[in-house]
Symmetry: C2
Subunit: 325 residues, 2 copies
Amino acid sequence: MSQINVGIIGYGNLGKAVEEILRTRKEFKIVAIFSKRKFVKSQYEVKVDRLDNLEKYKDKIDLLFLCAGSYDGVEKIGNEIIKDYSFIDSFDTHSKLYDYISKLDLIAKERETVCLNACGWDPGILSLVRLLFNSISPSYFTANCFWGSGVSQGHSQAIRQISGVENAIQYTIPYKAIIKKCKKLCDYTPDSTVKHKRLCFVSVSNNIDKQKIKDEIVNIPNYFKGYKTIVKFVSNKKILDKQKKLYHKGIVIRNFEILDKFKTQLEFRLNTKSNPHFTAEIMIMGALAVYKLKQENKFGAYSLFDIPLKYLTNCDYEKIIKSNL
Amino acid sequence: MSQINVGIIGYGNLGKAVEEILRTRKEFKIVAIFSKRKFVKSQYEVKVDRLDNLEKYKDKIDLLFLCAGSYDGVEKIGNEIIKDYSFIDSFDTHSKLYDYISKLDLIAKERETVCLNACGWDPGILSLVRLLFNSISPSYFTANCFWGSGVSQGHSQAIRQISGVENAIQYTIPYKAIIKKCKKLCDYTPDSTVKHKRLCFVSVSNNIDKQKIKDEIVNIPNYFKGYKTIVKFVSNKKILDKQKKLYHKGIVIRNFEILDKFKTQLEFRLNTKSNPHFTAEIMIMGALAVYKLKQENKFGAYSLFDIPLKYLTNCDYEKIIKSNL
């Protein structure tokens, strides 16, 4: 495989993590980082350009890592860049994914590009595990998923969008008693709001009505509405400290009784010290698939469900089979 | 999807489990069971025919479940039936898989059939998990896999092939201390023979040289050679009792440090009260993929690595995305 020339759109935690890891991978070459903000400087002296200038790079870039925030960035940018570029994102607003991918697929097929969407930790790896677990003995109750304890970047960013909020970090915390119950029973699939609480540390500008901010946070649809949400107002310094440790965890559990008599338990656990770096690793893995699909003229928008797992690795087929099957 | 007409080859534990589960699935209709043995009778009054008569069913069967034993049956039968039938198997001799699938692929493409091979619990589900785990952050050590404690059908059958052996059951037992070490360290991937011991209960005919049988068992390549293997000679009655509980477990663990600083742990656990029934469920899941691939004229021999996960379920695409992504 020849070297893959890539660009990175967005230079927050995720964009920086993608850059940091790609520098250690000889299969990839970072051509430029694109940002909406002025005066952004790469931590590794990679060229940074304004997103408006992206069109100048058409012939220089094989694929883009779209690392903008899901809350307001990915969808809008994705719908635009697909016209000329293949790309990968980790868009995480579950409720919007079907429409997003369907729309992209039409454009990608017409413009002969490829994108892989929702390719992060969740949606992403945890989704693959859920679909696999749920496809086995499908007559029974579906898998239970737990997130945390850990930092959700999407939820933190959703809070930061609120006017008057200076900085924020959000911890998703699963209820241990519910995990235990889900591991034991075969017919218990409570709603996500029953399984988790959300703890938010928020710093605000002076003279801001904190109660109003709090009300706004707990009512953000898809992110907080329906969850037990605790909001704590703290200094920005305290949040900056907490942002140094962006760990996260995830669990998928499925229990069923084959023929109502043979109990079977499937469990997946993920525990990472850095959610942005783990998400970056998943996107880089997915980028190999985007590149290969493009080379094979298999244009369109994909989720991880649409791609054979062998596309996610650089190994040749014989090695894949001999080392893993 | 119209009803899928299937046949089952082999009527041991696995064939019986496939039959038992398929009867509860309205997407499938069992046309006949095929056996090499005379006087086999279905537990549910399904038609039983001799394997030699298979050719009479060409127009009546969409796909075959190949449930013969891996030790001497699957490979031979698979290479024959692929000429006229699409089929699925759970062939489990890891060292032979690449050659087996490569050979089948040539014939399948020529004869316009489809087969999905090595689609059981391991190789199968555990292989998918291994490849997924190993594709993330691939610069580091690969995943560790543990089997058991539980009954391995393949190993039990390998013992039963020995002349003079009346019946046998084999338990694969992982060393707990090694599991613990693998969960802790990022750079420890001991050989499978270091991670497990094998406990065999064997009943033999009268006047048999037990030491000779024992020597034969511990030296079976791919199955026992290199493992600490304990052989206990017991009555057939005792083995028949043990064969009522064919439970099994499996673990895949992968630890790595992204950029040598962010520790990440991935863990998968499977625990089933019936290995044959769980394997049957995996094969039935895979059979949906075989059927769809055939309908789409995508002829060839596949492993689970070659198939997008969405092929493994009956749900429509919108539901797959909305319920799992």
